[in-house]
Amino acid sequence: MSASQKVLPSGAACAVAPPRVSPRRVAVQTLLHRKLFMGCAVFVAVLLIVAVFAPWIAPYPPNQTDLLNRLAPPSWQHWLGTDTLGRDTLSRVIYGSRVSLLVGLVAVALSALIGVVLGTVAGYFGRWVEAVVMRFMDALMTIPMILLALTIAALMGGGLMDVVVAIGVSMIPPYARLMCAETQSIKRKDFIVSLRGMGAGGWRIMAGHVVPNAFSHVLVFMTMQIGAAILAESALSFLGIGVPPTVPTWGSMVADGYRYLFTDPILSIAPGVAIMATVFAFNMIGDTLRDVLDPRLRGTFTLAGKHS
């Protein structure tokens, strides 16, 4: 190792250090050189802009019906045609991105927050705390996600926030499991003992040291779960327990369109492709982040080692 040779002989021998690049910068550089990652990142960015500025971008209001122009094929007026009520498909796909992204991001943030806190606490304190929390998580896990979400959404009446909560709650267990396992391995490391020796309390160690050490794992898992959350929302909408029918969502559009799959396939294919592309983009981002943020690979990245 050049670092040890540089430093060991005497304190003064290494007054001139070679130029060093911070690991964070190396990681960013590596990300910028990955074409697939950049493509997906740009796609997600565009998607966010479209969702935020939907009223200005969409050519028609999402619920404006044109009964004379029902089930119209793609044309210059309606790029992706219209549905059974003569609503513009493109506008509805654009508006649908709002719900999909909102559900995807908020549900994932919610489940990650709760799951990480529960998992960290369970893993750190161990014993009965762990037993109680993790067995509860196991119980939650035995219920299929869709079924759990269905139950919660049905209980709460079904609105946008209910869908978010339902999906968020059903996605907590994997985070708790991940963090619990991570915490158990991290809390046995030497630096935790050393921190306790410096007078750090349990909460400080958990929030300041355990979570940051596991953060790259959680972050990667989150990006993968975004795809899952969007799909779950679609599934709920498809089953009719999602957001109110007046709100366009990709899932409900697929559900509405499948009856015309042979005559007007674009009604289902357009939102379906939107779901697929979004899920794919988030998954690819997660995949790349895992490669770059894994602490074991920290500092070993060189720009020469890039691949797209």
């Binding site: 430093v7 304190g11 630096f191 003992v193 020796g197 410096m198 007078g199 309390g201 602490p295």
Partner: protein, 330 residues
């Protein structure tokens, strides 16, 4: 010199499937102000466990502090709640500890500066800015070149020796009264060991603190410590000033340790004398002297009577042995 830290009859037990193991069995010692004390013994003799117990850092379960007192600044540290605010204020603030694995004793995902700042912000209540400045100053103090840039580095960018210096800097960051160094040089190159020890002595003297060095290597610490306590099987078997102990070791174990360390002033070709056998199994301790099976100086009394208590044999020199190697042949 008054006693700053006084450990009395400290006992630490570890639960195992085969019954409780008494890893530390009645260890007592005192540490005076500005004093440097060495705690020497082979692996598993309870030297690290006794130090962790002082800070109440023994993991329970399986560990348990079974008895004793640790008097520090007029308080018994063992009476504090294990993770209560008083104990946390002592840890790092009044008594700091340096651990043996410098490379793994630092959090890999935080910068050196953040970790140094954390201690000073907690104990001294510094602001973020002040703590950052203090971190740079501390790094300079322990001889880190270009500390202004190194403070933003991560631990993996430091060598073992540099990490150990960071640990020392962290230990000293809150001006503790006592610094406990647990095998501070074990993971380091021989070339760096002396540097680190010298640095530690210098800084401790300058800060007016006291230092406990826990080690298995008598030779390494000999030049730096004022007094040495030799531990065997959870007990202190001999304790005295460094000079006295090296010149006139009384316990056969101490003698054995000294003879097994190579010396430069010996004739070429003279052989090192190892201590035969293995340390006793702590689960199944004999009532007699624990060193008896390995002892070549044993007399009949050793086999018949229980392990004796520490007895004074000279000015500040005490030993736990019936046979007592007479006056120094090391």
């Amino acid at each position: 010199m008054s006693a700053l830290l006084e450990v009395r009859d400290l006992q630490v037990e570890f639960g195992t499937p085969n019954g409780a193991v008494r890893a530390v069995d009645g260890v007592s010692y005192t540490l005076a102000e500005h004093e440097i004390v060495g705690l020497v013994g082979e692996s598993g003799c309870g030297k690290s466990a006794s130090q962790l117990a002082i800070m109440q850092l023994i993991q329970t379960p399986p560990g348990r502090i079974a008895g004793g007192e640790v008097l520090f600044e007029g308080h018994d540290l063992l009476k504090y709640a294990k993770n209560g605010p008083e104990m946390r204020a002592v840890r790092g603030g009044r008594i700091a500890m340096i651990f043996q694995e410098p490379m793994t004793s630092l959090n890999p995902v935080l910068t050196i500066g953040q970790q140094l700042a954390e201690a000073t912000r907690t104990h001294l209540g510094l602001s973020k800015r002040e703590a950052q400045d203090k971190a740079v100053e501390l790094l300079r103090l322990v001889g880190t070149p270009s500390p202004e840039t190194r403070v933003n580095d991560y631990p993996h960018q430091f060598s073992g020796g540099m990490c150990q210096r960071v640990m020392i800097a962290m230990g000293l960051s809150c001006d503790p009264r006592v610094l406990i160094a647990d095998e501070p040089t074990t993971a380091l190159d021989v070339t760096t060991q002396a540097q680190v020890l010298r640095l530690m002595r210098e800084l401790v003297e300058r800060a007016g603190a006291s230092l406990v060095i826990v080690t298995h290597n008598l030779g390494v610490v000999a030049r730096y410590v004022h007094r040495i306590s030799v531990m065997y099987a959870g007990r202190v078997v001999e304790s005295g000033t460094t000079k006295d102990l090296f010149a006139h070791p009384r316990h056969p174990y101490t003698l054995g340790l000294l003879q097994s360390v190579p010396r430069l002033d010996e004739h070429q070709g003279s052989r090192l004398i190892p201590i035969d056998g293995l340390p006793p199994n702590l689960i199944d301790m004999p009532g007699t002297c624990a060193f008896l099976p390995r002892c070549s100086h044993a007399i009949d009394r050793c086999r018949e009577e229980p392990w004796p208590e520490l007895a004074n044999v000279g000015e500040g020199h005490s030993v736990r042995c019936y046979a007592q190697v007479a006056g120094g042949s090391a």
